[in-house]
């Protein structure tokens, strides 16, 4: 579904990715792990069109999308929950969710999706009229994911969904992610600091180091890998 080949991305003079290749097949959860500044978020940004790649290719369903502006990719079934949630704090929860389905015409369809997302996250239903900025951090994270789900993406990019959440909530959110993948068949590319949790949820994983793929394998294999255990799982 998604194929990234030899991707190079630079911010001005700072080269963030030096030729990253990875792949996510239909229905998979693929996780990217790596240290701070390894280029995980940059990879997601390049896939969703927020930054233009300097070199290499990003293909979605076999079609090149490198350099296509972000708003067009949404219509091709891609949704990106960016780092730091980026919900619209001045808009109500309902409006935030409706914006998630901005590309969808037809009130009935939007209403149906809204209902479904609210069923996934009942907490949001209780706060539907509240403005986004008044939600707690965890609720905002749910809103960010729910908003992305409103687009019914075929490929969902998640950037650190666990950031700043209580452990209990993190587990809840990851259960949701697995369920979305199972029930809706959504392909998920997951960036996560909590490597253990990410690898337990995902089917396959990539380890990124300073802008390059250092390891790629099935998730259980990575969990067992000594190198990963030493560097990312805190095992001694």
């Amino acid at each position: 579904m998604l194929v990234v080949e030899d991707l190079v991305v630079a911010y001005g003079a700072v080269v963030a990715l030096h030729g990253v290749s990875l792949e996510a097949k239909q229905g998979e959860i693929v996780t990217l792990i790596g240290a701070n500044g390894a280029g995980k978020s940059t990879t997601l940004r390049a896939v969703s069109g927020m930054v233009a790649p300097r070199r290499g290719s990003v293909r979605l369903d076999g079609r090149e999308v490198g350099g296509v502006p972000a708003h067009r990719l949404v219509r091709r079934g891609l949704a990106h929950v960016p780092e730091g949630r980026r919900i619209f704090t001045g808009l109500s929860v309902r409006e935030n969710l409706e914006l998630g389905a901005y590309t969808v015409r037809g009130r009935a369809e939007v209403a149906a999706r809204l209902e479904r997302v609210l069923a996934l996250f009942p907490r949001l239903a209780e706060r539907i009229a509240q403005s986004g900025g008044t939600l707690s951090g965890g609720e905002q994270q749910m809103l960010a994911i729910g908003r992305a789900m409103m687009a019914r993406p075929r490929l969902l990019l998640l950037d650190e969904p666990s950031l700043g959440l209580a452990p209990l909530l993190v587990r809840e959110i990851f259960r949701e992610i697995a369920r979305i993948n199972r029930e809706e068949g959504t392909t998920i590319l997951l960036v996560e600091q909590n490597a253990h949790l990410a690898l337990s949820t995902a089917h396959r994983g990539y380890v990124l180091e300073t802008g390059r793929v250092a390891l790629a394998d099935a998730a259980p294999a990575l969990l067992e890998s000594p190198r990963v255990r030493a560097a990312y799982l805190g095992a001694t």
Binding site: S48, G49, M50, P69, A70, H71, V74, R75, A79, H80, P82, R86, I87, F88, T89, G90, L91, E95, E98, L99, G100, Y102, T103, R147, A151
Partner: protein
């Protein structure tokens, strides 16, 4: 302050405003020197400021740009309206009065709004979009440059030129046979000829004076020409102009509120204003939303341009400058970025200026706007209706 007291303090000006507007709608105010007259003058002027302030505020709200050229969109609209009124010939349509004049004005307003809006679209695509990433100072100077450019283009352009022109007074056209005898007003016919420099010039030539009778020869000649070819000069009554302006503002404000709060485009506008990149991730075509915002703001400015010139009776290339500046102040007073703020700020400024002129001094009237601006900025930088100052770290 207790909530009840605060509510009262907020309700009082609103009630006063409501009272003034009602009196304006039902009676003839604005001609005398009572407080009510000055208030109504202030409300009318404030409504024009508000029209223009809406555009400033929308553009600022979405891309944080003080669009100095907004006053020139206003001017361009005013000229579009001027030419439609003068040259389109709608007033000659064979309809009972006052339909021809009314339709001519509607056409002028529409043309003004569309010309101003189109100009804003072009300006946005050609200047503001390319400069958006280069930083705020560069964008601001570009806006200033655009303002200068449009002003001076208008001054140099032969069809417009630097001189002040009187706003066309409505003409009530009639066929020669319809002129009563003795005539109930001065009647004129329009002669066009080519000047030595090759320009087409129009001259009003009297046909018959009030109380006199038309000679049969003239009547015959005119009847032979056919159609409505003589006119008497009408006049826009002050009350009609004032009422139309206030009602137009009310309609525009409600319409805009509905658009921004209730429609998909409005939601996209608010999203872009808050976080452009995140809006893009929702599938919002940010460039298009920004262009739409410019169009809408300039559309309103065009309406304001015709209203302003019809009210004050003249138009020239610098027409947009002072109202533009004042409207900008109004937008800041009300809280730049806020749509209700633009309306409140406009009315507040219009009313305070006219009360000040009436009670204190006319010469110092212009300084009041700037002093108010500084005072409000210092006490509440985000304006009367703005959100509390939020510092992004």
């Amino acid at each position: 302050m207790s909530p009840r007291l605060r509510l009262l303090l907020q309700a009082l000006p609103a009630l006063a405003l409501g009272y003034v507007v009602v009196r304006m709608l039902v009676g003839d105010v604005g001609g005398g020197t009572t407080l009510l007259d000055y208030l109504s003058i202030g409300v009318t002027q404030g409504a024009i400021y508000a029209f223009v302030a809406l555009g400033y505020t929308m553009v600022y709200g979405i891309i944080r740009l003080i669009n100095f050229a907004h006053g020139e969109f206003f001017m361009a609209g005013a000229f579009a309206g001027y030419f439609v009124l003068r040259d389109a010939g709608i007033e000659r349509w064979a309809l009972p009065q006052p339909w021809p004049v009314l339709l001519a004005y509607l056409a002028a307003l529409l043309a003004a709004a569309l010309v101003a809006g189109t100009l804003a679209l072009v300006a946005e695509a050609a200047c503001y979009r390319p400069i958006r990433k280069a930083g705020r100072v560069a964008a601001l100077l570009t806006a200033v440059g655009l303002s200068l450019l449009l002003q001076n283009l208008a001054r140099q352009w032969p069809a417009i030129g630097p001189t002040q022109r009187p706003w066309p007074a409505p003409r009530m056209w009639a066929a020669a046979d319809e002129v009563p005898s003795p005539a109930d007003a001065h009647y004129y016919e329009l002669k066009t000829f080519t000047s030595p420099t090759g320009e087409r010039v129009e001259r009003e030539k009297p046909v018959v004076f009030k109380g006199a009778t038309m000679t049969p020869a003239v009547r015959q000649r005119l009847a032979a020409e056919g159609g409505r070819n003589v006119f008497r000069k009408g006049e826009l009554s002050r009350t009609v102009v004032d009422r139309s302006i206030v009602l137009m503002l009310a309609a525009a404000a409600v319409g805009l509120w509905f658009l921004v709060q209730r429609t998909r485009t409005g939601k996209a506008m608010r999203a872009v204003s808050e976080d452009m990149a995140a809006a893009r991730l929702m599938g919002v075509n940010v460039d298009r939303v920004i262009a739409a915002t410019f169009f809408l703001g300039a559309f309103l400015a065009g309406l304001g341009g015709v209203a302003y010139c019809a009210k004050y009776g003249q138009v020239d290339p610098l027409t947009g400058f002072m109202p533009g500046l004042k409207a900008f102040i109004a937008a800041v007073l009300g809280g730049i970025g806020s749509i209700p703020g633009a309306v409140v700020g406009g009315l507040f400024l219009g009313v305070s200026e006219n009360l000040f002129a009436a009670e204190v001094s006319t010469e110092w009237k212009d300084v009041l706007a700037f002093v108010l601006l500084v005072v409000v900025l210092l006490l509440k930088p985000t304006g009367l209706m703005g959100r509390p100052y939020r510092e992004k770290v």
